[in-house]
């Protein structure tokens, strides 16, 4: 499996156009932003301070910001697009290049798909972690230059508290990535084309992000208020709810009469695992039976 993962890693990472525009764009983009800020600071302190004022002033918060693109509703509607496009292109790319016919006889289909899912999810996680580091470094450099504080001070409590929150956020981010990767894989397998996979996976993701409003609309149209209770089974609800438990220690507040408080943390984590595992199992079952004819 290690060799297979290395093969996946190599062919994905060497696709410079794809990874450059859809993965490394995050840390490189943030790095560019802070370089421009620092160069601009040479000429205007006001301009630089204006840019830094938008930050939280806490490195513990800034470091978590990058993961928000996968987790923070309503930004997820748009911010998931690039990771999803990357994943869809990677999976559909094997159909477009006709490479499955070279790969399938060399290893089990399940291993090939699982390795691909692991690599695309890991690459995005690495890009987000790198974005966290660049963000903290950029904010820290700017604030140091201006003589501003950038707290909290690096005490054991601050670091251990931050490590726990980062781990919790990364766990949710990882589960979210696995769900998205499985969605992208399924879309690519069903459509066998990059464009088709992109459209299907964007559709899935948007439906998930907007599930709360869609269910509210359906409840109103059909006069069935309990329909909104289905929201508790969607990935977006459980990501938001788990985030709420991690950050505030309480369940998510919801604007429904019949369902005003999110489920408990274990339920939400279990639902996310079920989504990730269920979609992955579906991907494996469909791919295992698929005829590779091109």
């Amino acid at each position: 499996m290690i060799n297979l993962l290395r093969a996946e890693w190599k062919k994905t990472i060497w696709n410079a156009l794809l990874t450059g525009f859809l993965v490394w764009v995050f840390p490189v983009g943030v790095l560019g932003f802070y370089l421009v800020m620092l160069i601009g600071g040479l000429f205007s302190r006001e301009w630089m301070s204006g840019m830094l004022e938008t930050g939280s002033g806490l490195w513990t918060e800034d470091a978590l910001g990058a993961w928000g693109m996968l987790l923070a509703f309503p930004f997820t509607i748009l911010s998931r697009m690039l990771p999803l496009a990357f994943m869809a292109a990677v999976f559909a790319g094997e159909y477009q290049s006709g490479m499955w016919k070279n790969l399938i006889p060399r290893n089990r289909r399940a291993h090939l798909i699982l390795a691909k899912m692991a690599v695309v999810a890991a690459l995005i996680a690495i890009a987000l972690a790198a974005t966290s580091i660049v963000t903290v470094a950029g904010q820290g450099a700017g604030r140091l230059w201006l003589g501003w504080e950038y707290g909290p001070p690096a005490s054991w409590d601050a670091i251990s508290g931050f490590a726990l929150r980062y781990a919790q956020t990364a766990l949710l981010g990882g589960l979210s990535l696995l769900i998205l990767a499985a969605m992208a894989a399924l879309a690519a397998i069903l459509t066998r084309s990059t464009l088709g996979a992109l459209l299907v996976v964007f559709g899935f993701s948007t439906l998930d992000s907007l599930a709360m409003y869609i269910l509210m609309l359906l409840a109103r149209i059909f006069s069935l208020p309990e329909v909104v209770n289905l929201y508790r089974y969607t990935p977006q609800c459980n990501i938001d709810n788990a985030q709420s438990w991690f950050t505030t220690g309480a369940a998510l507040r919801l604007p429904f009469e019949t369902f005003s408080t999110g489920p408990d943390l274990v339920f939400s984590l279990a639902m996310l695992v079920i989504w990730a595992a269920g979609l992955t199992a579906l991907v494996l079952a469909v791919f295992e039976r698929q005829d590779i004819t091109a």
Binding site: L4, K11, S97, K101, N102, N107, T293
Partner: protein, 319 residues
């Protein structure tokens, strides 16, 4: 299972689509390829060759029947571990070099040996351009790389689908030698699909002819040619006497070459009878100027087989 054939198919069938769009690509195909053979799989475009190969390589699920390689069902995990294949033209990651493409494929098979990759790139004549992205390769270079990819794991069985596509005449000649060498020098079994009859005639030991998804002939190349129509052309004097003598035992017709007034007698005698034909004529006082055995090429045989009345509902003949 050392005694099992390299390839065995049993009523292997594949249909695509449903209802009115249903197409039978392969119908109850029974093949047996012994180890160490170069086996030709002949058929016109759309005959079902590539679908058969895809089923052998576990890319397509058979609708019925089974395919075995070295005695194991191809759907079993690890059944294709000692099989290399080039299916319907080469495909590679254009942004990777030849070396990196081979590395990715070798690692996918959990069999990465850099020295093996170096050796293969030299064998197929790509060592000098191994570091360049494959997107800049010609079709012929990609074809060579495809063959190198097929041989990566030092397979016992090599399945090649139209391996000379895109090669220039010198490349075709070289590829034929290479394929023969795989069997003769390295003891590999080669299953070669082609619609180029000349290629199969020069390269293969045995041949199966497939048409509209069904096998219509199977046998050794020599056997198929021997059973095919062949005759004897005679120039003799006096011609009328020669014709009269020969008609006693064989069917005889006259023909002349375009632009030539000289007439030939065409004797429908199998090649082994040719000494008797000449002896008979000479014994009766006929002067024999020329006697030429005219053999049908595999191309002629193939065209007759795939156009003949039996091609539609095949009764397979084995040599």
């Amino acid at each position: 299972m050392p005694s099992s054939p390299a390839i065995r198919t049993e009523n292997l069938s594949k249909t695509f689509g449903k209802g009115k769009t249903r197409i039978t690509a392969v119908k109850e195909l029974n093949l047996e390829v012994e180890r160490g053979q170069v086996y030709g799989f002949l058929g016109p475009n759309g005959a079902g060759k590539t679908t058969t190969i895809r089923m052998l390589m576990s890319l397509v699920r058979p609708s019925a029947g089974r395919a075995e390689i070295n005695g194991r069902n191809v759907r079993e995990a690890g059944a294709l571990a000692r099989v290399g294949g080039l299916v319907e033209g080469p495909a590679f990651y254009g942004y990777l070099s030849a070396r990196n493409n081979l590395e990715v494929l070798a690692r996918t098979a959990n069999d990465y040996r850099p020295e093996r990759i170096r050796e293969l790139l030299e064998q197929v004549g790509l060592a000098g351009r191994a570091a360049q992205p494959v997107s800049g390769y010609s079709m012929g270079m990609k074809q060579r790389l495809g063959v190198a990819a097929a041989l990566l794991g030092d397979p016992e069985l090599v399945i090649l689908d139209e391996p000379t596509n895109g090669l220039d005449p010198a490349g075709i000649q070289e590829m034929r030698g290479f394929i023969r060498g795989l069997a003769a020098e390295r003891g590999k079994t080669v299953f070669l699909s082609s619609h180029l009859l000349n290629e199969v005639e020069q390269t293969c030991d045995r041949v199966a002819i497939i048409h509209k998804g069904e096998m219509i002939r199977e046998g050794s190349v020599a056997g198929l040619l021997a059973e095919s129509i062949s005759n004897l052309r005679i120039q003799a004097a006096p011609l009328e006497q020669a014709e009269q003598v020969l008609r006693e035992r064989w069917e005889v017709t006259r023909e002349s070459d375009p632009g030539d007034s000289m007439q030939w007698l065409v004797v429908e005698a199998p090649p082994p009878d040719s000494p008797q034909v000449v002896e008979l004529l000479v014994g009766r006082g006929v002067r024999v100027h020329q006697a030429v055995i005219r053999r049908q090429t595999l191309e002629g045989y193939f065209l007759a087989a795939t156009r003949g009345p039996s091609s539609g509902n095949a009764e397979v003949t084995h040599d």
